[in-house]
């Protein structure tokens, strides 16, 4: 399998995505914003479609659209301009509607678009891998540097605000990272499924781990394992990689839940 360059590229990009997505998702789940990834994914779709319409790289337009959409939702939530679920609904529907309009204007309803929606192991280029490695690596380093502050906000946002922590800025950083993660991951996992890779490994780890640190590390390990196993299944069974990766992550959650239940009975 690894004799093929496209698989080595897919595994390289998948390794970064498999670690980054749960690392960012961990802070979204703790703040009960698990669904924000879905909302940003819809905006990323509009970004991809805009790229087709303007004739520029869809990944670049998706990156800008995802980060802008994520920060917009955080701004709406933080300033209480609208309830959190309504802000998400606004993002979902505006994103998908804009995407449909742009795609139909560009006449781009084709197989290449579907590779963005559901992922494809054939689409990662060397340049794409370099982008994922550099931007994704920077995101992981940023999370490591801000880890204690991000945990402090997740545990007690008001207490952190009173202590003078820049809570608004930290929340925008997490939202922005969510946007970056989705734009980087869409070629592997697909826009429609990337949010699952931000949430399922975290919820699976939460069933097994007994601290923030162990949940955080285990969720990244489950994310990485899901990507590797999912890509392998995708190669041998000719499956869409996004679906295979997310089903493996969902299987990890079921296994974690079952093992804790068995341990409880024992």
């Amino acid at each position: 399998m690894l004799d093929h360059e496209f698989m080595r590229l897919a595994f390289g990009a998948g390794a970064v995505v498999g670690v980054l997505a749960p690392a960012v998702g961990f802070f979204l789940v703790q703040r009960r914003m698990s669904l924000i990834g879905d909302g940003i994914g819809h905006v990323a779709f509009a970004g991809v479609a805009l790229g087709y319409l303007l004739g520029i790289a869809p990944v670049a337009t998706a990156l800008v659209a995802s980060v802008a959409g994520a920060i917009a939702v955080e701004w709406l939530r933080a300033n209480r301009r609208t309830a959190g679920d309504q802000a998400l609904a606004l993002l979902f529907y505006t994103g998908i509607a804009a995407g449909v309009v742009f795609v139909s204007s560009a006449g781009a309803l084709n197989a290449n678009l579907f590779s963005f929606l559901f992922g494809s192991i054939l689409t990662v280029t060397r340049g794409g891998l370099l982008l994922v490695a550099v931007v994704g690596g920077a995101g992981i380093v940023l999370i490591a540097v801000l880890y204690r502050a991000l945990v402090a906000v997740a545990l007690d946002e008001e207490g952190a605000r009173v202590s003078g922590l820049p809570v608004g800025t930290l929340n925008v950083v997490v939202a922005g990272l969510a946007g970056v993660t989705i734009a980087l991951s869409m070629r592997i996992v697909g826009i429609l499924l990337i949010a699952a890779l931000m949430v399922l490994p975290v919820t699976a780890a939460g069933r097994l781990a007994r601290s923030v640190a162990s949940t955080f590390v285990l969720s990244m390990a489950i994310g990485l394992g899901s990507v590797f196993v999912g890509l392998t299944l995708s190669y041998y069974a000719d499956l869409a990689p996004g679906g295979a990766i997310v089903l493996v992550a969902a299987g990890a959650y079921v296994a974690a839940a079952a093992s804790t239940r068995l341990a409880f009975r024992a």
Binding site: Q30, V145, L146, R148, A149, V151, A152, A154, L155, D156, E157, E158, G159, A160, R161, V162, S163, G164, L165, P166, G206, A209, R210, S211, V212, A213, S214, T215
Partner: protein
């Protein structure tokens, strides 16, 4: 004696037509243990949020240790325990991780804990009597123990003013008494000023030196023993 908190003619309302607090004025000398009681919706929590700088007064001034509101908190002088609903009780955190979060400040935003931080965390956990549970997940502890963990977080930064918003909500009567005894001991040993909000002040009436009854403004200010009979259940206070 220096003043820990000064409110001068403070008014505030979330809706401009319906003020929650009107012309509230009082001073708290450093080192005092003050209970703040009153009916639901009377403005107790709003009063605390004004003092810690989470909301700004529409008129009047709030000063903490002689500084504009917020400045003292940013210097680590204020430890704050919000209402239980605001806390990440369900997060998969150990007691030690919760208390460690109290050592994150604006100036020490990046990087790992220092040895001084770790010592302060251990000392805070010991002060609230949770050393044996330090590495246990919060979710496995009782409601009273969870509140102790967050009190340890509030004192981990070695504050001079400790502000607690309804810390006994959701804990049983025995745990309420134990929390009151803990706060009395922390007040005595750390020489810290305590502002304690509760809609039922019974748990701390024996340890508080002063009671403020808040209902749109300060309706009573004095020792708990001097509270008029008709207000003895401040949660249902009526004129």
């Amino acid at each position: 004696m220096p003043l820990a908190v000064e409110l001068d003619d403070v008014s505030f309302g979330y809706d401009a037509r319906r003020p929650v607090l009107e012309d509230a004025s009082f001073e708290v000398p450093a080192g005092q243990f003050v209970a703040i009681a009153g009916p639901n919706g009377g403005g107790k929590t709003t009063l605390l949020r004004l003092i810690v700088g989470l909301v700004r007064p529409q008129s009047g001034t709030v000063r903490v240790f002689g500084e504009p509101v917020g400045a003292a908190a940013r210097r680590g002088l204020v430890g704050y325990l919000p209402q239980r609903a605001q806390l990440g009780i369900e997060a998969p955190a150990t007691v030690r991780e919760v208390v460690s979060a109290g050592r994150v400040t604006r100036r020490r935003l990046f990087g790992p804990l220092s040895s001084d931080d770790r010592d302060a965390v251990d000392a805070s956990i010991a002060r609230v009597g949770l050393s044996a549970q330090a590495d246990e997940p919060l979710a496995t502890l009782s409601g009273g123990q969870q509140q102790r963990a967050f009190i340890a977080k509030a004192i981990a930064g070695r504050p001079r003013l400790l502000i607690l918003d309804e810390p006994t909500t959701g804990v049983d009567a025995d745990a309420q008494d134990a929390l009151a005894a803990l706060l009395a001991r922390l007040h005595r040993e750390l020489h810290v000023t305590v502002l304690y909000v509760s809609h039922e002040f019974g748990a701390v009436e024996h340890v508080a030196e002063r009671l403020l009854l808040v209902r749109g403004g300060v309706e009573f200010d004095g020792p708990p023993s001097a509270l008029p009979e008709r207000w003895h259940d401040p949660s249902h206070a009526h004129a």
